[in-house]
């Protein structure tokens, strides 16, 4: 395990971090990402390779920059007027941060699921069909196929197949979250970003979401932000630890949770600072 460690910034010992490069294919390659909110630097020179078709967890205390990082990957920070971003995020040979990037197309490739389930005030069917319709699918049979496939992939089909035209608001919180995952999957994203996807759910719904994530990672790349370290340890194969806008350590989750290299990671995962 020691051999795969390299320092991310060999030229700058002050920025040297414990970084173990992922073994397989890379999905997202982030280079020197900085994000400002007004004058405050929220992300400091982040460089990280997110492995393809794996679950990568981002952990760290509140305000450490992990959600800002997640929101950079589908340009959600564009919606915040004071936010300014520099650096590069490469996905499939394109720089996501390029000014010419078609953000609608980007968000088709990079889906997002939020902390609180946020279904549209529509039927279950229309929630899932929304994205494909926006992207030009109008054929009813094709839409029906996409809706079924997406609901199946989100492991909620069996629970809702007989009531697809009921309001999404009639579902339980856990079901609503899986519906939101189905809605994100309906446009066939390559990457699914999940921002605390289970923090508002009960333990059983949480475990269902985690099980679903494990199934989905065979097809797509998942990046999850979570405050729940046990969840990060359970679901992810790689983990990045953020602190005060910096990526302190990145590597296989087994390493991060059993033998972290950086004292600050050690202190955080053992619950020794607040």
């Amino acid at each position: 395990m020691v051999a795969d460690v390299e320092l991310m910034h060999k030229d700058d010992p002050m920025n040297a971090r414990a970084y173990a490069a992922p073994a397989g294919d890379i999905c997202l390659s982030v280079k020197n990402l900085n994000v400002w909110y007004g004058d405050s630097l929220a992300l400091k020179n982040i460089s990280i390779d997110i492995p393809s078709k794996e679950i990568t967890a981002l952990i760290g205390p509140s305000g450490c920059g992990k959600s800002t990082f997640l929101r950079s990957i589908n340009r959600m920070n564009d919606l915040i007027p004071s936010a300014r971003t520099t650096g590069e995020i490469w996905l499939d040979g394109e720089d996501i941060l390029d000014q010419g990037m078609d953000v609608v197309r980007l968000r088709k490739n990079v889906g997002m699921v939020f902390q609180r389930p946020n279904p549209f005030p529509k039927s279950i069917f229309d929630n899932v069909a929304y994205g494909p319709r926006v992207h030009g699918v109008n054929d009813r049979r094709e839409l029906a196929m996409i809706v079924e496939k997406s609901l199946r992939r989100a492991a909620i089909w069996d629970e809702v197949k007989d009531e697809l035209h009921k309001s999404a608001f009639d579902l339980s919180g856990g079901q609503q979250q899986r519906l939101c995952i189905a809605r994100a999957l309906a446009v066939e994203p390559k990457v699914l970003l999940m921002d605390e996807p289970a923090s508002a759910l009960d333990p059983i719904s949480t475990l269902k979401i985690e099980e679903l994530m494990r199934e989905l990672k065979n097809e797509i790349t998942i990046v999850i932000v979570t405050h729940n370290m046990q969840q990060a340890a359970r679901v992810s194969s790689y983990t990045g630890f953020f602190l005060m806008g910096e990526l302190i350590e990145f590597g296989p989750s087994t390493t991060i949770f059993t033998t972290p290299r950086d004292k600050r990671t050690e202190d955080y995962v053992t619950g020794r600072f607040g």
């Binding site: 370290m229 602190l243 059993t258 033998t259 050690e266 202190d267 995962v269 053992t270 619950g271 607040g274």
Partner: protein, 221 residues
Amino acid sequence: MDTVQTRHSFDEELQQMKQDILKMGSVVEEMLAGAVKALRERDKNLADEVIAKDDIVDEYNLNIEQTCLRLLALQQPMARDLRTIAAALYIIKDVERMGDYALDIAKAAKKLADYEPITQLIKIPRMAEIVQKMLRDSLRAYVNHDIEVISEIAQEDDEVDILYRQVRDGMIGLIKDNPKSAAQAVELILAARYLERIADHITNIGERISYMETGHLRELH
């Protein structure tokens, strides 16, 4: 970054668990000293006292194991905490086994008390002294997160191995010279063998401490 005490009660329980391991170790140390003294001085009463102490060791073993499982389930320890508790689960098994060996030596002492001595015991008490020191050092190293002492333990284990072979060869010589001494000589070979095994268990503890501190497993023997 300010480090504040966020897991006070968990830390207290971890400290308590470590202290219990030290206490368990000190009981085994007393058993070892007593067993070898009983062997040398043919003291049946002392041997019985040693035998009685094994229950205390077994109780520590069970209680510490329960504490470890409870901490794992309820506190979900990570990183160093996780390695410390995992090490404890291994260490108490090794210490418990050492107690069993000390008990076996005490039983041998009781048997030998009925015979006229065939030889003066020098090397076996020397072995016992070394393993007692090894045990004490290894458990202190565990509690104090100190890996310096581990290479010393490996050296002492080699010394114990040499003494064991000397005792064994000496006893074989005695049996050859005087076949009637065989019953006693075999008991003494076994006693030396138990001490040699105890030293091996202590090197296991050294390996666990090494893993706990570095995250890497290192074979010591």
